[in-house]
């Protein structure tokens, strides 16, 4: 199982910064998981007990807004990592996620990976170094969308 997961994870660039040993340790906590189009991957408020590396398909991050239903915040495609609330207490999802199209992923056991990080600081640091850019890039992208660059000066700030 781990070897199969290892070969699939190695095909994607996301975890390329890990040493072969670290990659094996990570993949011991991983299993393939697939979702049908429209299937919910996790719901807002649920325990963040896993995180996913998307191999193919796309997922939508959403938030339930009273009166507006499930608002899609962002979509993620193949090669991206889904979920970072598992890194910090209270380990609860701040957003929900659903498969936009059929989603093929490797799902990792969050608690197992966290325990590995605590036990092996070098591994822990390597994992954090990979997740930091994800968070900063998503923040930058969100800030760009806040700027509402496609709006005319009359439209800026209007819905």
């Amino acid at each position: 199982m781990t070897d199969d997961v290892l070969s699939r994870v190695a095909k994607l660039p996301f975890f390329a910064g890990l040493t072969p040993g670290q990659l094996r340790l990570l993949c011991e906590a991983g299993r393939p998981a697939s979702y049908q189009a429209g299937e919910r991957v996790f719901a807002e408020g649920d325990l963040a007990d896993r995180f996913w590396l998307i191999e193919a398909g796309s997922a939508a991050l959403d938030l339930r807004v009273p009166g507006r239903g499930d608002q899609v915040i962002e979509t993620l495609a193949g090669g991206s990592v889904l979920g970072w609330s598992w890194l910090y207490p209270p380990y609860r999802w701040q957003f929900g996620a659903a498969a936009r199209e059929r989603l093929d992923t490797i799902a990792f056991d969050a608690a197992a990976v966290r325990n590995r990080c605590d036990a092996d600081p070098a591994f822990g640091y390597a994992i954090l170094r990979l997740f930091m850019p994800v968070i900063t890039e998503r923040l930058q992208a969100t800030r760009l969308r806040l700027l509402d660059l496609y709006a005319t000066s009359a439209q800026v700030g209007q819905p």
């Binding site: 005319t152 000066s153 009359a154 800026v156």
Partner: protein, 389 residues
């Protein structure tokens, strides 16, 4: 149009100052509108002249940074003054000009008409710095792919009578810009004023056949060696008495390197962004357009007027301006004039006339700003070199 001076023209002659009246007659007889300097409203301005009597005989100027006053000379020199608030762009690139008018017929077709320039201008009293400025405007407005019709129309058939300078003003620095005080080429006739006691005459050099043809109607005598030596000596000596100097080399690189210089804050604390400098500068050419219509909407016109990069709306784009701060606008003006002009038009945009220094209400001196930027750059290079060791 004037062309390069040729060696095969008649040798220089001397004409009496009184003969300038005959020069005017010759020009009028050929249908020229004569434009030259005259004293009016406390300044020496560029205006249409009916006769030689309107030249500013005996009027001198007292200029410095932020200062320009007329004063009485103790002689009757007609050209004993340095650059006034106007330049030849008042004639060749006027402050307001119609570009076209359009009329819409009942079936919706639109006929567009371009105005035709009927005057032929004789420019009398063009200083070497202003001669260089005309050459620069020629390149900007007619040297590119598209020819500016207003400028081309007014420039077509010009007769240029240059006058060399023997008394530089305090703000002049043509010598360091390589544009004067000697007139080398680009004129039909070039005059150097000579005053020896009661004797008031002009040494006249011919630059083109058109110039020679006009000069032939003015009573003249061959210039003797003494007169020629006096003229060239006075001009050469003037080159050593310039009020200011500008390091004319390396400015494009200096200004590019200075884009983030702390010096712009310093200038911004003094610059009112009033745009005087752009109005008096003989090479500032920026314009904007205004479309107007009558009440029926069937007749429309486009007019062109001077604009200034100091104007807040100059760089307006998508709801706001790109250059809103005073620093950015001053930086744009000086970096264009002395720096990027080279890449855009193949020469410096500055001719060293010193008008911007005289007409700046706070006395900002373009030569001093360059010196300051230069010092800061050398200091920063020295620090870099120090760090490398």
């Amino acid at each position: 149009m004037s062309t390069e001076t040729r060696g095969e023209f008649p040798p220089p002659v001397l004409i009496e100052a009184a003969a300038l009246a005959r020069l005017f007659d010759a020009l009028h007889a050929r249908g020229y509108t004569v434009v030259g300097p005259t004293a009016r409203d406390g300044a020496i301005v560029v205006a249409e002249l009916e006769s030689a009597a309107e030249l500013p005989y005996g009027v001198g100027v007292d200029t410095e940074a932020g200062r320009y006053r007329l004063r009485a000379r103790d002689d009757q020199a007609a050209f004993g003054h340095s650059a006034g608030p106007q330049s030849w762009k008042s004639v060749l690139h006027p402050a307001r000009a119609p570009l076209w008018s359009a009329d819409r017929a009942a079936d919706g077709t639109v006929i567009v008409r371009e105005p035709v320039e009927h005057h032929r201008y004789a420019l009398l009293g063009v200083r070497p710095c202003d001669l260089a400025a005309i050459g620069i405007l020629d390149r900007v407005l007619t040297g590119g792919r598209h020819v500016d019709p207003v400028y081309a129309g007014r420039r077509d058939g010009n007769l240029i009578i240059a006058v060399e300078c023997t008394e530089p003003g305090a703000t002049c620095f043509c010598a360091s810009m390589g544009t004067g005080p000697h007139a080398g080429s680009g004129f039909d006739l070039a005059m150097t004023e000579l005053l020896n006691g009661d004797d008031h005459s002009f040494l006249v050099r011919v630059g083109t056949p058109a110039g020679a043809e006009v000069l032939a109607e003015v009573p003249a005598r061959p210039a003797d060696d003494a007169a020629i030596a006096q003229a060239s000596g006075a001009v050469a000596e003037a080159a050593t008495r310039m009020g200011r100097t500008m390091p004319a080399q390396g400015l494009p690189d200096l200004l590019t390197a200075s884009r983030e210089s702390p010096h712009w804050d310093d200038v911004a604390s003094r610059c009112l962004t009033c745009g005087n400098c752009t109005m008096v500068c003989p090479t500032c050419f920026c314009t904007t357009t205004e479309d107007v219509t009558d009440l029926t909407g069937d007749h429309a016109e486009r007019w062109r007027r001077w604009d200034s990069c100091f104007d807040l709306d100059f760089s307006y784009l998508h709801g706001g301006s790109v250059r809103t701060s005073g620093q950015a606008r001053y930086r744009q003006w000086i970096s264009h004039k002395l720096g990027t002009w080279h890449e855009q038009f193949g020469s410096s945009g500055c001719v060293g006339c010193g008008r911007c220094i005289a007409w700046c209400p706070t006395g900002i001196d373009i030569t001093q700003e360059v010196a300051a930027l230069s010092l800061l750059q050398m200091a920063s290079d020295a620090t870099d070199n120090g760090e490398e060791r």
